[in-house]
Symmetry: C2
Subunit: 209 residues, 2 copies
DNA sequence: CTATTTCTGTATTGAACGATACAGATATAG
DNA sequence: CTATATCTGTATCGTTCAATACAGAAATAG
């Protein structure tokens, strides 16, 4: 054990509790008072552990990613590109409407804080979103090699499309849409998938794998 | 002219200047100091004209709607449902990436401020988004009567789909996507339009995955 | 044991927040 | 003209903000 008085709280648990505050109120809306109360610690402990409010927020984003890494793995492990897309959008639709028993508001933490007096915050959040978009893009590049995605399709565009759709679903969820409504949107979005649609980007029909 | 000393500034112009501040920094991030500086007036004048920071924000939202009412009219006046959808998404894609010569950031004012310590703000913004969604829904109901939209399609779902897509496009724009990228997304989203797709949604009843 | 290190709670910091009191300026009403 | 009403700028209100100083508590190291 390290020298000195041991920490009396769990950093991960504290970050989890801070997450719900940021989620509900946004970065600027979450005051230090809100945060320390929810985390069950005092301000000096927060600063010792996370450095600053921004440091805490970044730690929360990392924790958010860690929580949802299992979801992305499941999405990417689908047997073909369409399966990936379906897993992704359906998963987002269900997740976005899930308030986790009231622990968090509907929507997605990474789609909040779109603007902020400190521009570093929206940029940081956007970076986390872009990470997932890139995972999708890479997966679709592989799908093209595997032959389960049309050579005419552009993996980057498809990934951007899914990402945009997912973000839009989260906005709708935050405004109170039901899971069923979100799933309807997701399914409508999947109709345009190159393998399904007759009017694929750059016209050339291709047999399904 | 009214009794008393006349107002020395234009309310609409002041609201326009406040709009860019809210747009860049969000509701909470925009301080009274930021706002009065941009508006070129002092705090008492702001409070006399708008009542409060929240009152100013609501006035800005109304002004935003007024500015874009011409766009919605043009969108809704398309000859058929697909034309409406295309006008809408293409217009959003172009608008979202347009910084108006640096006057405003990319994205949409109505997609910012997703969370806030005062929940009335996200609700107000969501209400303004929902207004446009309802306009689309009504237009699609009319399109069904006119026969240029499949009877199997659900106008409300289609409107929600377009709205979600538009919001997603705005999120991508705020993160720095180019007009061309946004248009690619928009066009991909239009492929799923019932009139185009062979696999149109056949049942209005909600089905689980 | 003593010395050192690190965390804890209390109490507080200066700055910035949203919002006003006030007095002077400028209009109308009679 | 005087009286009244409304807007203007200055100067400031009390509150809350994010962030710390400090002293005591609780661990290790020798």
């Amino acid at each position: 054990m390290r020298m000195g008085r041991p920490r009396s709280f769990c950093v991960d648990q504290a970050a989890d509790r801070a997450m719900t505050v940021f989620w509900k109120k946004g970065y600027e809306g979450a005051s230090l008072s809100d945060l320390t109360t929810a985390m069950g610690i005092n301000a000096p402990s927060l600063y010792a552990a996370f450095g600053s409010k921004e440091g805490l927020f970044k730690a929360v984003l990392e924790r958010y990613d860690a929580r949802r890494s299992g979801f992305m793995e499941k999405v990417l492990s689908a047997p073909d590109a369409l399966g990936v897309a379906r897993n992704y959008l359906e998963g987002i639709a269900e997740f976005a409407a899930d308030t986790n028993g009231g622990a968090n508001p509907p929507g997605c933490l990474l789609v909040q804080s779109g603007s902020c007096s400190d521009a570093a915050i929206p940029e940081e959040v956007a970076r986390h979103r872009a990470e997932k978009e890139q995972l999708l893009c890479r997966r679709f590049e592989q799908a093209q090699k595997d032959g389960d995605l049309s050579k005419n399709a552009d993996p980057a565009t498809l990934a951007r499309y899914l990402s945009a759709m997912a973000n839009g679903i989260c906005v709708q969820a935050a405004a109170g849409a039901t899971t069923a409504e979100l799933l309807d949107i997701a399914h409508l979005a999947l109709v345009s998938w190159p393998v399904n649609a007759k009017t694929a980007p750059k016209k050339k029909t291709r047999a399904a794998a």
